[in-house]
Symmetry: C2
Subunit: 225 residues, 2 copies
DNA sequence: CCTACCGATCGGTAGG
DNA sequence: CCTACCGATCGGTAGG
């Protein structure tokens, strides 16, 4: 019906969307589509979003989407791949860069919080966690592998803290609690609200692991002369 | 299509489902439908479940559902109402029965964990949290009110703990962390897995609030003569 | 990227 | 609770 009623207003709206895109957003079409789709999937869910919804917000007609993607499912898969892969790589880099187990844990918490509520790809990560069940079965093994790889980083940090006697509970429980709390932030977090991401992250880390006021590495440098 | 192909096998399946229901499950039709719908909504999401799916598992044809409910949305609403109201009432009773702030918090954690992963209505609670965005706008005020009422119980317990000097972080953060961790259990919890609900609940409570080994109320009674 | 469609499936209804 | 449908909408396609 949207296509039979392709009125002059609709044509004009698409023309405007196209013009705006050219000046405001230089992203290649593929990426524009993914950004729009991630945002809509987050708001309405995968099954609650139609290919016509996505196309309309990109400023094209629904049929044109299938020049860029083979199917609606492929769009979902690409969003999740991007999110899962990016956070894996960043988590591994975080572990390498941090100098103490406690800092490893704190930085992982901050990374996940920032990815989920603050980053430019936050909708991608939200979709990865919320729409998992809508993934076609055939795509699950690939993403499960990335998920496990990501979890290894967490377990490694938690076990390092445990070995150093810093953990207030078992490493397994610590990871479950940290993950749950951070992902819960997807629901309640608002920029400018009660806590910033780093504030909440630090509260959370301090709750799970004891911070033996470390060698004064880089925080508050020079506050105690 | 499912209705045009109402084969003899399908008829027989319905007959069997009806017979089994009569002997195995004496629930009134309305409740049977809600149970089935809650289970399917949890597995596939609201938009991923069709009225035909629900009807098939109940053992009737899709048209017959609308003798019991006005619409698919009303089924979702009833599930959420039931879950939200029940947990509100139980939380308030929990606060009354507990004798110390620490016990209040522990029992709230246990209540929510048990509701979400163990209780007979666990799918109802999962749907309440996961399918919120699929609720028709018109129904949100009613459920938001119940949600706020439920949160009051949590805040009350958290603030009582805080006043008693038991909390390792601010009451606001404590509630956010407890809620997130407990709801995260919907994803990873398996009966017979790493932790039982009470074990995980106690780890969680002990992390957030210090247990000043209370007056030996009822736990391990008689262990110290 | 658009035009112009398609077969399938959706939630829901009327009358028994 | 079933029979027999409905209008709308869905994901996707062919040909330009």
């Amino acid at each position: 019906m949207d296509q039979k009623l392709d009125t002059n207003e609709a044509r004009k709206a698409r023309r405007n969307a196209r013009a705006e895109r050219r000046t405001v957003d230089p992203a290649v079409p593929r990426e524009r589509i993914l950004n729009v789709a991630a945002s809509l999937f987050r708001q309405r869910g995968y099954n609650g979003t139609t290919v016509r919804d996505i196309a309309a917000e990109v400023g094209i007609l629904s049929g044109s989407l299938f020049h860029h993607f083979q199917s609606k499912e492929e769009i979902l898969l690409e969003i999740m791949r991007e999110a899962a892969f990016t956070i894996c790589v960043r988590a591994e880099k975080t572990l390498e860069d941090a100098e103490t187990p406690w800092q490893q844990l704190r930085e992982l918490v901050r990374l996940e919080l920032e990815s989920i509520v603050g980053g430019v790809r936050k909708d991608y990560h939200a979709v990865l966690f919320f729409e998992w069940r809508d993934l076609p079965e055939a795509a699950k093994p690939e993403l499960t592998r990335l998920q496990k790889r990501y979890n290894r980083s967490w377990r490694q940090a938690a076990e390092a803290c445990h070995a150093a006697g810093l953990l207030r509970c078992e490493p397994d429980a610590a990871v479950l609690i940290l993950h749950g709390s951070v992902r819960g932030a997807m629901t309640w977090f608002r920029p400018g609200g009660r806590y910033s991401t780093d504030e909440f992250g630090d509260i959370l880390t301090a709750l799970v692991a004891i911070d033996i006021k470390d060698n004064g590495k880089d925080n508050h440098k020079g506050s105690k002369p």
